[in-house]
């Protein structure tokens, strides 16, 4: 099985299509669920008129002339009525031509920019003045930045001296207009972000304006600047819907990438590239496709009945269609380790909002930082001292269920059975040393004779083998008064029996454990 993820549906070297990425679009033109490719054919020979072509699969099904060199082709839906027929928008110069069913439907021209007052004044003089003074006025015109001049003035300054007179005479009532050229177009959804729901058209002009147009009424809904400094848009990419939220990424000729969001009047620069971007596409995949010739244009989307198709046009006019395999996998199988690291980095911890108490506490902590630290340190030392004292006490009295003596490490467990007044105290003693035998041990039960009667208080123990527990039973009964009552001074606090493990020749017991005895159930005794 080959590793390739793309199926070569077509590589037609004779297609003779010359286009750019922004002049290609895929859409369901006839609403028959068969997506077609719309591409504007732009010949490098200016004599040949540009053409708008529709490809069904691999065949040209429609071919028509365009009135000028297009800068962008976009297909969009204007309303929610059925059947859903897309319209095709083609930007030519300062105008957008809308086609419905591939027939001209509407022409929109972007509004004119402000004309310099100086320019208007010069034209007034030009019209009224004698031809001898033209040169002076034209020199004045040249003082204005060429890009800020109207088309008429731009034409005038390029003319020869003898042509000027005729030109001015032809334009005695000059209509000064500065129409910005459209450089790029893209679309976003109007409100519902669903395939085939109505769109808004986004237009980027040479004058660094971004216009968002409602294509149903052809009104400009929002206008914004690309950036706060001079930046000419070149490529556009957008996502989201106009009513909810949207993002427009603009690549400029100066090499910066700007982002424009809803309600912003000006884009913000996010990245500054060293060289201007040549193509921009929002893709979820990354893979290299090797094509024999230089790729001039590409687009990705639905084509025909396939959902994921990449269309490439190379510089020798070949049209290549690549279909993404159904079984194509782009993510490498992740190992468990990388998964966990990814999870931990991607995981967003739900941080609750800062409460008023929290803020007040933070302020207090800031103000009294040294005092808080000192108090904490002294308390910490106090706690350590307390812990050390207790440890010494335990070591001194052996009051623990473990023997602290490293020579004979022992573990003691005690269990009390019975309801009383007679109890059975089971003591389990285990040698927890790995190798050494613990010998010469004896056990002693110690209790207040006024409270408890113990049948056998003392026993010598056999040597203890490591790991084998020794179990001993002791009968303990409460010393009741003659009229079957508990001893008067017996409380829950002092009803205890101490279990001592003593080693021969050692004055200190190895273990001195306290067993808390339960209160006897006297009702049972009475009945």
């Amino acid at each position: 099985m080959s590793k390739t993820r793309w199926l070569d549906a077509l590589s037609d070297g004779t297609a003779g299509l010359k286009t750019i990425s922004s002049c290609m679009s895929v859409c369901d033109l006839k609403n028959d669920n068969y997506y077609k490719l719309i591409a504007a054919e732009i010949s490098f020979d200016l004599e040949i008129k540009p053409r708008l072509r529709v490809y069904k699969g691999t065949q040209v099904v429609h071919d028509q002339n365009l009135p000028g060199i297009p800068s962008a082709v976009e297909s969009l839906y204007i309303d929610e009525t059925h059947p859903k027929m897309p319209i095709v928008a083609v930007s030519v110069g300062p105008s957008i031509l809308f086609y419905r069913n591939m027939k001209p439907y509407f022409k929109y021209t972007v509004p004119s920019l402000i004309i310099e007052p100086l320019e208007m004044e010069i034209w007034k003089k030009l019209v009224s003045d004698r031809s001898d003074n033209y040169q002076k006025h034209i020199d004045d015109l040249k003082s204005i930045n060429t890009s800020e001049l109207s088309t008429l003035s731009q034409q005038l300054i390029t003319l020869n001296d003898d042509e000027r007179e005729f030109f001015i005479r032809d334009n005695m009532e000059p209509k000064l207009e500065r129409l910005p050229t459209i450089v790029a177009m893209t679309k976003i959804y109007k409100s519902i972000e669903e395939e085939k729901s109505s769109n808004c058209l986004i237009i980027a002009t040479e004058s660094s304006d971004i216009l968002i147009m409602d294509v149903q009424s052809f009104n400009i809904l929002h206008q914004a600047r690309v950036c706060n400094f001079k930046a000419t848009p070149d490529l556009l990419s957008a996502s989201g819907s106009f009513q909810n939220d949207f993002k427009i990424v603009i690549a400029t000729r100066e090499g910066s990438l700007c982002i424009l969001r809803k309600n912003w009047l000006e884009g913000r620069e996010i990245v500054k590239l060293e060289n201007p971007a040549t193509a921009m596409c929002l893709l979820q995949i990354d893979q290299t496709i090797v094509v024999l010739n230089t790729v001039l244009a590409m687009t990705f989307g639905k084509l025909g009945l396939e959902d994921h198709v990449l269309v490439l046009v190379t510089n020798n006019g070949s049209l290549l269609i690549k279909i993404l395999k159904r079984t194509a996998e782009f993510s490498e199988p992740l190992s468990v380790e990388s998964k966990t690291t990814e999870d931990s980095t991607n995981m967003t911890v739900a941080i609750p909002k800062k409460t008023k108490i929290f803020i007040e506490q933070t302020i207090r902590e800031k103000e009294n930082a040294s005092a808080i630290h000192n108090i904490f340190q002294s308390e910490l030392w106090r706690m350590r001292l307390e812990a050390a004292k207790t440890t010494i006490d335990i070591l001194r009295t052996g009051d623990s269920t473990f023997s602290g003596d490293y020579q004979t490490p022992l573990k003691l467990l005690a269990q009390v059975d019975g309801l009383g007044p007679d109890f059975l105290l089971t003591v389990t003693l285990e040698n927890i040393s790995a190798t050494k035998i613990a010998g010469n041990l004896s056990i002693l039960l110690h209790a207040d004779p006024e409270h408890y009667k113990i049948k056998r208080r003392y026993a010598d123990l056999s040597p203890l083998m490591p790991g084998i527990p020794l179990e001993m039973d002791f009968q303990v009964s409460v010393a009741l008064t003659p009229d079957n009552l508990l001893p008067s001074d017996m409380t829950t606090e002092n009803s205890i029996i101490r279990v001592l493990i003593i080693k021969e020749n050692l004055s200190k017991p190895l273990i001195a454990s306290t067993v808390v005895m339960p209160q006897p159930e006297l009702q049972l005794l009475i009945t």
Partner: protein, 197 residues
Amino acid sequence: MVFEKLFMKILNKERKPKQISILIIGLNNSGKSTIVNFFKNKDVRKSVSIPTIGFNIEHFENQGVSFTAYDMAGIGRYRNLWEHHFKTCNGIVFVIDSSDRMRLVVVKDELDLLLQHPDLKRRRVPILFFANKMDCIDALSSVKIAAGLNLEKVDNKPWQICSSNALSGEGLQNGVHWLTSQIKECVLTPPDKEVYD
């Protein structure tokens, strides 16, 4: 008398037509449901077919063999359901839209996946290809489709390609006739024989 009745019963059981399951697959919009529709009785035929979701089960009979046809959905995201029926099917009908030149590579890809599938690779399952929509002007001929799909490389399974028009029914009977005779030969006579390549 009693013995004779019992004997007849056993005999009848033996003669009863075996249930044969057929898998009908192909890309979306190739005409699978329309082909199945043609084999139904006239009174239950549908006039319009809509894209199948998941799969539909249909029953019909041909030459004394009763078929259960699994009409699978051809939409990309349902194509992974096909392989679940590979193990149990006795015959495959692969429908191709011969007018959709662009997607012939997709057909080839799906066919290769099918032929390489462990449940089918070693089984001798007859495959019938319908080069459907032969009435379209730009339809490819069945010979060209067979060449495009590299069918001559399929040597461990009997296959046949028929041009068809599911709307008029042209070519369908021929194809199904071939499939039935193949199934009779492959499945009903000897027990399912394994082929090793």
